[in-house]
């Protein structure tokens, strides 16, 4: 069971051929591949599902988070041959309830019809470009990484909490993902304008660190 990009672990991207190699090994050994797209799915990384970017298909995939715009929901998807549950073997009282699924349908339809994944890719690239600009300016930024609108910025020291609080005071919410890294996971509908605004705040915050 794998995430395609480790989210909580720090926005860690796999090496280029890693996922294809895992898929091939699973095929060879007859092992099922479960892909956890809970954070990477629903357009966040620039395609509807992140596996599309790595040329592989999972046997089982899990979704949640962005599927219903904040209404609690989760989903297990599987290939026909793997879908071996018989009646009574699994269940959920609330799972699939009309309220959550109405929100999910509205969300997924909007994401597909409006190419929200494409927007995430475009704006995500702009975000990374602007963050790279900050990296040129501040030598204590050691890394900028991510795909689409799942992006992290790493520092040479454990200043992430200070950065988060300073951003807060200037009107920007960001996430401390590791003691020395902050993560950006904005709504996928933002434009370059919001990126510019966030970068402006980050610039001021990082300038005051020394």
């Amino acid at each position: 069971m794998l995430e395609l990009i480790q989210g909580e672990g720090g926005v860690n991207l796999p090496d280029d051929n890693y996922l294809a190699a895992v898929r091939a090994w699973c095929d060879q050994m007859g092992i099922l591949l479960i892909l956890d797209e809970i954070q990477t799915g629903l357009g966040r990384t620039g395609t509807l599902f992140a596996y599309e970017q790595y040329g592989i298909e999972p046997d089982i995939m899990t979704l949640a988070k962005g599927l219903a715009s904040g209404i609690p929901i989760g989903a297990i998807l599987a290939k026909e041959r793997v879908s071996v549950f018989t009646p009574g073997e699994h269940g959920s009282t609330f799972g699939g309830n009309p309220l959550a699924c109405a929100a999910g349908y509205a969300t997924l339809k909007f994401i597909i019809d409006n190419d929200i994944a494409g927007n995430a890719k475009k704006v995500g690239q702009y975000l990374v470009t602007r963050l790279e600009g900050l990296r040129q300016k501040f030598p204590f930024i050691t890394d900028v990484r991510g795909r689409g609108l799942l992006v992290a910025m790493e520092f040479s020291t454990d200043i992430a909490q200070s950065v988060v609080m300073a951003c807060l005071d200037r009107g920007l919410l960001v996430n401390r993902v590791k003691p020395n890294a902050v993560r950006f996971m904005p709504p996928l509908i933002i434009s370059n304008d919001e990126v510019d605004e966030a970068i402006g705040i980050l610039d001021r915050v990082l300038s005051s660190i020394d």
Partner: protein, 217 residues
């Protein structure tokens, strides 16, 4: 519906400050404005010295101390903006923890939820219901997978995926049951998903963990 119209207007507005003020007038919430005014600004760091608000004190009183929070109480969201209990506005690059794909309270979603809440909220899976079929169909049509099961969170989805894989293993793979996951992964907060999550700090408080999970580099 009135609520949906107001939100549509907000989205068109683009001036979130004005939008917030107007929606606050129309839909005042009883607790707004009761919070602390946020504390002084430290002259050296320019950072606000934050004091705990009434709501934060109540959280300490009633809520389990399991979560590390930033001392902000959020009360409203619209698009990529949120507002705290003192009316301060923030640009949201946390997105509800990578959840709010369409931003906060998108009119399309708010309308769908409001309409469904007046129609049928919960029936259980003992019966057929339509929204889950429509969503399942849309997911299958737009992915490389064939069948869907809905639950209520990512952790539940991962738990169900492992159950499905183990069922498959029992039926087709001579009883294979082990699940290989990676160091630095995160798969959820349920007991089995803590075992799956390759981060010792999440695992240590709960040994012995459910068997059959191997964390690798």
């Amino acid at each position: 519906m009135v609520v949906a119209q107001q939100y549509r207007q907000l989205v068109k507005d683009r001036e979130c400050e004005r939008g917030f003020a107007s929606i606050k007038k129309t839909f005042p919430l009883s607790f707004e404005g009761e919070g602390d005014k946020g504390g002084e600004v430290d002259k050296q760091s320019h950072n606000r010295v934050r004091k705990m608000s009434n709501w934060q004190e109540l959280e300490h009183k009633y809520f389990m101390n399991a979560v590390e929070r930033i001392p902000v109480t959020l009360v409203r969201g619209q698009g990529a903006r949120v507002w705290d209990e003192d009316g301060r506005e923030y640009l949201d690059f946390v997105g509800g923890w990578a959840v709010n794909s369409l931003g906060h309270c998108h009119p399309v979603v708010a309308e769908a939820v409001a309409e469904q809440a007046h129609t049928l909220i919960q029936a259980s899976n003992q019966f057929y219901t339509i929204p889950q079929v429509r969503l399942a169909e849309l997911l299958v049509q737009n992915s490389r997978l064939d069948k869907v099961f809905f639950c209520n969170s990512g952790a539940e989805a991962n738990e169900g995926a492992v159950k499905l894989a183990r069922r498959y293993g029992k039926l087709r793979l001579n009883g294979a049951y082990e699940v290989i996951t990676t160091i630095n992964s995160f798969h959820g907060r349920t007991l089995a998903m803590v075992a799956a999550t390759g981060q010792p700090k999440f695992q240590q408080p709960y040994a012995p963990l459910p068997a059959g999970f191997i964390n690798v580099e």
